[in-house]
């Protein structure tokens, strides 16, 4: 595992349509809050790791050049990482690698997106190869609708039951987002609203789908030596797992999804977790689509394959349940893509250090954070705990 690493500060912007600030100013807002939270200043930081979606999203190529000042990156090593939806968890992992290697004691990790500045679906349409997949797999909802249908069919799940469980998850996310000061979509909805909402890509309806948001997230990671020296309140990174698969969508099994299963297994092994359902107190599962969140429960061993609906029906994954998921309101209510995966890690760091405010899960000491990306291709997991 290398040297121990902790998250000692987080900063999130308010998310939504942020025409009040430029792209660097948005990042400055997140980074400033991370400094405020950690008590550090830019001079303390030794290296900067940054990331976002394909730069066509904002129309500025290699945007980390443009962001540099807003991250206090002058005079420091600076890289940019892009793995689509999983960018944020890739960022968290890369920050971890920097410190765990022993090369750096304090690293700033930044994810950002300004999705109102361009044409998000149009940009995502250019993520697929131009020869074979682009005409069919462009537009994220289609890919996830294909995956959802296959999942429900594989286990013979009754459509009505799956729909109801998905609707309950949508309501849970929208309700929880009301308690997260940084969340984008803040509306009260009921199960009926979800069931009646417009079909985007059957079986997926508009209230099963995440928004496009402007937002940024910053996280400061520190070595054990620095944590002790500063007397910081650490959220220790106990395990990391990441797994990708074939570039061609039709190759892999997206139901018993090896990329997700392997990422979780690797992280669990490092963290010494053998029964995730019992040992994890809170999870931020990447959930741009309600159906997909249920599929992840199975891949992460929260339940057996084909049993995810039951976790929703019994309230296990709701606040107050055994394994509350996405108490922040999740990706479903806030999705500045380059920041989204890092927000998951920041949220779990807040949870295990009892700093999550109105959406705090009481007594949470170990959490799972996750993001998915590529062309339904990559999965990354991080286990974060308040003890080493």
């Amino acid at each position: 595992m290398g040297h121990a690493v902790a998250i000692i500060g987080t900063g999130q912007t308010h998310c939504g349509k942020r025409t009040d600030v430029s792209y660097p100013e948005l990042i400055y807002e997140a980074v400033s809050r991370a400094f405020e939270d950690s008590g550090l200043s830019p001079d303390d930081i030794e290296a900067v790791v940054s990331g976002s979606m394909p730069p066509a999203m904002e129309g500025v190529n290699n945007p980390h050049l443009y962001w540099a000042d807003a991250m206090g990156a002058g005079g420091k090593p600076l890289i940019r990482i892009a793995t689509c939806g999983s960018t944020g968890i890739s960022l968290a992992h890369a920050g971890f690698y920097h410190v765990s290697s022993g090369l750096f004691d304090l690293v700033l990790v930044v994810g950002a997106e300004k999705m109102y500045e361009g044409n998000p679906q149009g940009v995502m349409a250019t993520v697929a190869d131009p020869f074979f997949q682009r005409p069919f797999l462009a537009g994220a909802p289609g890919i996830f609708a294909l995956q959802s249908n296959e999942w429900a069919h594989r286990y013979g799940l009754e459509e009505k039951r799956v729909r109801m469980a998905a609707a309950e998850l949508s309501v849970r996310n929208h309700t929880d987002a009301l308690d997260n000061p940084y969340a984008h979509i803040k509306v009260k909805i009921a199960v009926e609203d979800v069931l009646k909402s417009r079909v985007i890509a059957y079986p997926v309806r508009i209230l099963d789908v995440c928004p496009a948001s402007d937002g940024a997230c910053a996280v400061i990671m520190a070595s054990e030596r620095m944590v002790r020296k500063m007397g910081a309140k650490p959220a220790w990174i106990r395990g990391v797992g990441y797994c990708g698969e074939e570039a061609f969508f039709g190759e892999g099994d997206k139901v018993v999804w090896q990329a997700a299963i392997n990422a979780a297994k690797t992280a669990y092994k490092q963290a010494g977790i053998t029964d995730p359902r019992k040992e994890i107190d809170v999870a931020e599962v990447y959930n741009p689509f309600t159906f997909q969140e249920m599929l992840f429960y199975e891949c992460f061993g929260f339940c057996d394959f084909g049993q995810a609906c039951e976790l929703v029906e019994k309230g296990v994954v709701m606040r107050g349940g055994d394994l509350p998921c996405d108490p922040s309101g999740g990706v479903l209510c806030t999705n500045p893509i380059g920041a989204t995966g890092l927000q998951r890690a920041a949220e779990i760091a807040l949870q295990v250090t009892n700093k999550a405010g109105d959406h705090q899960i009481p007594g949470a000491s170990t959490g799972l954070t996750h993001a998915m990306g590529g062309l339904d291709q990559f999965n990354g997991i991080m286990i974060i705990s308040n003890s080493l």
């Binding site: 005409p135 296959e150 417009r198 059957y202 997926v204 969508f249």
Partner: protein, 154 residues
Amino acid sequence: MSGESRILEGYVSLPYKWAMGAATTRFFEELKNKKIMGTKCPKCNRVLIPARSFCSHCFEKIDEWKEVSQEGTLRTWCTVNFSYEGQPKEPPYILGIIDLDGADVGLPHFVGGVDLDDFEEAAKKVHIGGRVRAVWKENRTGNILDIDYFQPVE
């Protein structure tokens, strides 16, 4: 800093020329002749479509060509009811992943030949595990859309 924040409007439009490589070039040429060709990995023996010059699992170079069936099983499907920039056709339409007989990789493509105005009826014809067959365009120009769509067969 407080005060007004104005918007600058701009446009970025760039042309590209994408080299296909020999495997994709031949695959598209064969489509003109209504043939769907895969390549077979010498190590894992999987038949990969569209044809590839190397195996995605074994990293082996591939030279052996195999024609696969124009008929297969629908692995999964969905409708697309939303619009986006660069979309190949007007929504609503149906997407599918098709496991063609003789191929070891599913092919994403359109599922067509059903009336989407009556969704219940369409969903009876388009279902996971159902059989579908390629319907070809009259004028084929050597690209993946030479297959117009895959139609459910009884």
